[in-house]
């Protein structure tokens, strides 16, 4: 086999070659704008809100001030229930930094009731085991106590099975 260019380094060899280190200071304060500001402020009140487009009739969640399908401004704010359906899920043995964890994080996409088809958000599942999550399962948001809410998606602790 012919030799292709490149000099591979093992982790040990990597430590021996000359090198520089850097930890950049890169900080942001993203403007949330019209739609996300309202969405976050409603979360603080324990409510989910979407935006309705009268042209295509969709209720968009999370809300946008514009409809990306019709390309026009959306028309009205619509409160939504805090219940939904499991679209997909995973049980993760990795945390955000790829560290191994023994108790899996249960996470998935929840299509919110009252929003248009497939309109959901990613969030955690709680008060159930990995085996108890199924496609199409009905779930409900578990909110933090009002005093602890800051206007963030983490004002919802997780979604739990909905008791009929």
């Amino acid at each position: 086999m012919e030799k292709y260019p490149g000099e591979a380094l093992s982790l040990e060899e990597m430590k021996k070659v000359t090198q520089e280190k850097w930890s950049p200071r890169v900080k942001y304060a993203w403007s949330c704008g019209e739609a996300m500001s309202r969405f976050l402020n409603e979360l603080k009140k324990g409510k989910l809100i979407g935006r309705k487009c009268h042209t295509c009739g969709r209720v968009i969640f999370p809300p946008k001030m514009f409809c990306e399908i019709c390309f026009k401004p959306t028309d009205e704010w619509v409160y939504l229930p805090d219940t939904g359906t499991v679209m997909t899920y995973s049980a993760s043995y990795l945390d955000k930094d790829a560290n191994r964890i023994t108790e899996p994080i249960l996470v998935g996409v929840i299509a919110i009731d009252g929003a248009s088809e497939d309109m959901g958000i990613m969030h955690y599942f709680g008060e159930m085991t990995a085996d108890e999550i199924t496609f199409g399962k009905k779930v409900q948001a578990v909110w933090k106590p009002e005093k602890e809410r800051t206007g963030s998606v983490t004002d919802i602790k997780w979604f739990k099975p909905l008791k009929e």
Partner: protein, 384 residues
């Protein structure tokens, strides 16, 4: 529209860590491509760079930093970037530089140096998520793929052992690739018994992060014949982006890939992709993605790709050899530089230069890349 051909390609080895700087990797890939085409840098008038997040290499505006290694110094130089889709989008951009009549000979260089992000490129992946809706949940990149894979398996009732066959095939194909990082003879059981990362994704379902670079040279029809007797023509290109909101659609089918494929097939005059295409390089950062993308590329009906794999159709000696290079699963996944195992591989296959990886009688090939938040498809059809 000018007719455009690829006349040379090159790539470095793919490795977890390379000693070379990004620039040096680019240079090495370019030199190999120039040698293959028997051209010199002065014959190149335009350079396109494809490289994915700056957060891997750890250099802001890294396209600017890489440009002398890409051969772009004092030249017309452009960087394009569509996440993981860059690996095929960059050669497409090379195509439009030439097809527009602006360039006679265009060099396309793709690079990724993921090892700079230390100890693991995962810290860069943490910033691909929506800062307001998703980053507060401390997500890991693997999560979205796990959720997509699970949805795909659920909708079509596909078993993990059938998906694992892709990993087995590609790692084996990679044994014949000089650049391979994770070539191996493994079994379906090895995949099923490997560590669970985020169910249903296990360690051997995933391609590794890599350092690497790749290069291709495109030329206009009237100069092609003075360069080579063995050109490979770009016959169709397509690219497409879906909504940012990946939580607002059913993940079981990559509609954006299908749209990009239709665009490319229309241009190439392909009506029956399965019949008309002799070799395919769909993007395979995960084993299920090869199947997902075969369906997106309309090479089979929705949900059928696993069966084709089981029947051996996608083996090098099958009816539709798929990822004969060994793909990302076997050779490595230096995001944009995967051009080396996608577009370059199709070029080498169609030019009859793929060595031990050569599939017989390949005249038409398709390659595809996929990126962003599971929303980008780029597709290129080539013919010898």
């Amino acid at each position: 529209m000018e007719h455009v051909a690829c006349v040379g390609a090159g790539m470095t080895i793919f490795s977890r860590r390379l000693k070379e700087t990004g620039k040096e990797m680019c240079y090495e890939a370019v030199r190999m491509a120039l040698e293959e085409a028997e051209l010199e840098l002065k014959d190149i008038d335009t350079v396109v760079c494809g490289t994915a997040p700056d957060a891997f290499d750890g250099i802001h505006m890294k396209g600017e930093n890489l440009l002398d290694g890409c051969g772009g110094s004092k030249k017309t130089y452009m960087r394009v970037f569509t996440g993981g889709g860059t690996g095929v989008l960059a050669p497409i951009a090379g195509w439009w530089h030439v097809a527009s009549g602006l360039s006679d000979v265009c060099l396309v260089v793709c690079e990724e140096k993921m090892s700079s992000c230390f100890p693991h490129p995962q810290s860069a992946f943490a910033h691909i998520w929506d800062p307001i809706l998703e980053r507060p949940l401390n997500p890991n990149l693997v999560w979205i793929f796990a959720m997509e894979m699970n949805r795909y398996m659920h909708v079509h009732n596909i078993k993990k052992e059938d998906i694992a066959l892709v990993s087995v095939k590609n790692k084996k194909n990679a044994l014949d690739h000089p650049s391979a990082q994770l070539a191996a003879n493994i079994t379906v059981d090895d995949v099923l018994n490997s560590e669970v990362m985020a169910w249903p994704v296990q360690r051997l379902d995933i391609s590794p992060p890599s350092d690497g670079a790749a290069a291709m040279i495109f030329a206009r029809e009237d100069v092609v014949h003075s360069i080579t007797d063995n050109p490979v023509w770009v016959e169709g290109v397509g690219w497409c982006i879906d909504s940012t909101m990946w939580t607002n659609r059913d993940l079981y089918f990559p509609q954006y890939v299908a749209k990009a494929a239709k665009m490319a097939y229309r241009m190439a005059g392909i009506h029956n992709p399965f019949k008309d295409i002799d070799v395919a390089e769909p993007y395979d950062p995960f084993d299920y993605k090869e199947l997902h993308h075969m369906e997106g590329l309309l090479l089979c009906k929705k949900g059928e790709a696993a069966n084709l794999t089981k029947e051996g159709v996608t083996q090098r000696d099958g009816d539709l050899p798929t990822c004969p290079s060994g793909g990302l699963l076997g050779v490595g996944n230096p995001i944009a530089a995967t051009m080396g195992v996608k577009a370059c591989e199709i070029y080498w296959q169609l030019a009859g230069k793929a060595g031990k990886r050569q599939v017989p009688d390949a005249r038409t090939g398709v390659c595809q890349a996929w990126g962003d938040l599971m929303q980008y498809g780029s597709v290129m059809v080539m013919r010898s």
